[in-house]
Amino acid sequence: MAQHQTEPQASTGRPGRRWPIPALLSAVVLVGVVVMAIWPHSWLPNDPIQIEPALRFLPPAFMEGGDPQYWLGTDVLGRDIFSQMIAGARASLVIVVSAALLSLVIGVAAGLVAGHFGGRTDSIIMRLVDVQLAFPVLVLIIAVVAVFGPSIPNLILVLALASWATYARLVRGLVLSLKEQEFIDAAWASGASHGAVLIRHYLPNVATSIVIFTTFELARLLLVEAALSFLGLGVQPPTPSWGRMISEARNYLFEAWWASALPGLLIVATVLAFNLLGDEFRDRLDPHRERG
């Protein structure tokens, strides 16, 4: 017994802190969105692209004149809002997540290389970043989509190309401050190669910041994607999309508010969830808070 007490207990993690309600709700919302994205279209209550002119602007089931079969109502072409909202998550998530990952890979690699090697390499990469950041993102995307067409791979590519620069700048700054740390000198004194310093030392030390930044980046990309679809440059009909639902229904806002307000609320909820979760990650993963 005494032995058990004298043996210092290996601390396996930092002291547990309860997840606050907003973060929990955000996690629930995001899990919900992911489920929506993978939900098979054939399991939906109605076909999301089935046009029924007779059922145009059916109000939600809880309002007068609503039909339980279309419980969130129908849009200008008589398509079921609820089914469209679920089906629309797929295109949005695929585009947003792929674009975020692609820009992360490009940006982090560029930032690591720029910060680590410095000199001319750094100048070239950072000038590219400056050019990228000086360009209004939406104008760039509109131009590219107008030229190459609005397919989903094109959208992913153009969103990634418009987003890598902030990652590069973030990572380069972190690497520059890490560079002065003695543990990097210690790695060199141990005989480490450039690759070992980059992968084994810099990358793990910037990972936390990257995770936090990515959650905020996902929120931003979701808004950009919705905006593009709203402008007709994003996901093309008949593929359901949240942005396009708002766009199509906006002229009938007074007659049928649900057709644009409901997908709008969904976008707000998802973006908010990403942001709140990002805040929570930042608080939890911040090494200064962790070590007290």
Partner: protein, 341 residues
């Protein structure tokens, strides 16, 4: 230095070019290390002392090739390593390692102790992962840590334990020479003693040579065989520990030693303190003549015009760079005679 030297440094220089603004015109480089020469024999300890800005840390980094020397040569174990590339240095890294000053900044917070300690083996040898692991355990034990600590992260340890981890990392390749860059100055005094004792034990056990870079003269006195005093990138006095501590011959060394606190209260007040005026001069804009004349209490005209050479003062191997070395030697001799009576 009767035995074969393990490390020979000759006329080592490091000049940092200052980045020039577009309109600032030509600027002179910072002469951080300005012609330093010394030798370290096998299983001996050389102390490199001096105040901040004297270039002692830079010297240590030049020897480990963390910085590129501007001039001079570094010969280690018979081989000139001044110009070797990163890959060519790997065999040298197995024989020469460095322990850093700050036990908090020198360990990667995202790595486990095992990963930290095994780094030199991983990068500079072909040893496989099982063998690496057992060497880590062995080395942790040698430095007084529990092998169970290998899977923990650095933030779970105290400063003294972290410095032991740093020492284990340097020791794992069983080097011949350790560069100790202020290894205890970031630690509490009680912990300092433990680490100093550990370093002494390790030296005895493995026959290590040390280059101890420090500003704490009592630590240097405890473990060094020879002492080099640096000022503004140059060695101003060099000798065995007893020579330097018992008969300091450079005014700067005398001033440094007079600032060491005396632990015996009865002896307090028996010694004159020499308080230096001003700060160490700008190494980019060194004074004329002797580097030290701006702060020296003995400075005369000759000091302002002629730089002194590092010369043998009296005893064999006790080198001093001062125009008035002979006067001071005489004073020292009188003092000792006075004490004897």
């Amino acid at each position: 230095m009767s035995n074969q030297a393990l490390l020979t440094v000759t006329d080592l220089e490091k000049h940092f070019e200052q980045s020039k603004g577009a309109f600032s015109g030509p600027s002179s480089p910072i002469r951080a290390v300005d012609g330093v020469s010394f030798e370290i024999g096998k299983s001996t300890t050389l102390g490199l002392v001096g105040e901040s800005g004297s270039g002692k840390t830079t010297t240590g980094r030049l020897i480990t090739r963390l910085l590129e020397p501007s001039a001079g040569s570094i010969v280690f174990d018979g081989a000139d390593i001044t110009e070797l590339s990163r890959t060519e240095l790997r065999p040298i890294r197995r024989k020469m390692q460095i322990v850093f000053q700050d036990p908090f900044a020198s360990l990667d917070p995202r790595m486990k102790v095992r990963q930290i300690v095994e780094e030199p083996v991983r990068y500079s040898t072909d040893v496989g992962s099982n063998e690496r692991r057992s060497r880590v355990m062995e080395t942790l034990e040698v430095v007084g840590l529990n092998p169970d600590h290998a899977e923990r992260y650095p933030h779970e340890f105290s400063g003294g334990q972290r410095q032991r981890i740093g020492i284990a990392r340097a020791l794992i390749v069983r080097p011949d020479l350790l560069i100790l860059d202020e290894p205890v100055s970031a630690l509490d005094v009680s912990i300092q003693a433990q680490i100093v004792n550990l370093l002494e034990d390790l030296q005895e056990e493995f026959g290590l040579s040390y280059l101890l870079i420090a500003h704490d003269l009592s630590v240097v006195r405890q473990i060094c065989d020879e002492v080099a005093v640096m000022y503004l990138g140059k060695i101003v006095e060099f000798g065995t520990r007893d020579e330097v501590y018992e008969s300091p011959t450079h005014p700067y060394t005398r001033a440094l030693l007079s600032a060491v606190p005396i632990s015996n209260p009865r002896l307090r007040g028996t010694r004159d303190r020499i308080v230096l005026k001003g700060d160490i001069p700008d190494p980019a804009n060194k004074p004329s003549g002797c580097d030290f004349h701006t702060r020296c209490y003995m400075a005369a005209d000759v000091c302002r015009s002629d730089p002194p050479e590092l010369e043998d003062s009296t005893s064999e191997g006790h080198l001093v760079s001062c125009h008035f070395a002979e006067t001071i030697v005489k004073e020292n001799n009188q003092d000792t005679k006075g004490k004897d009576k």
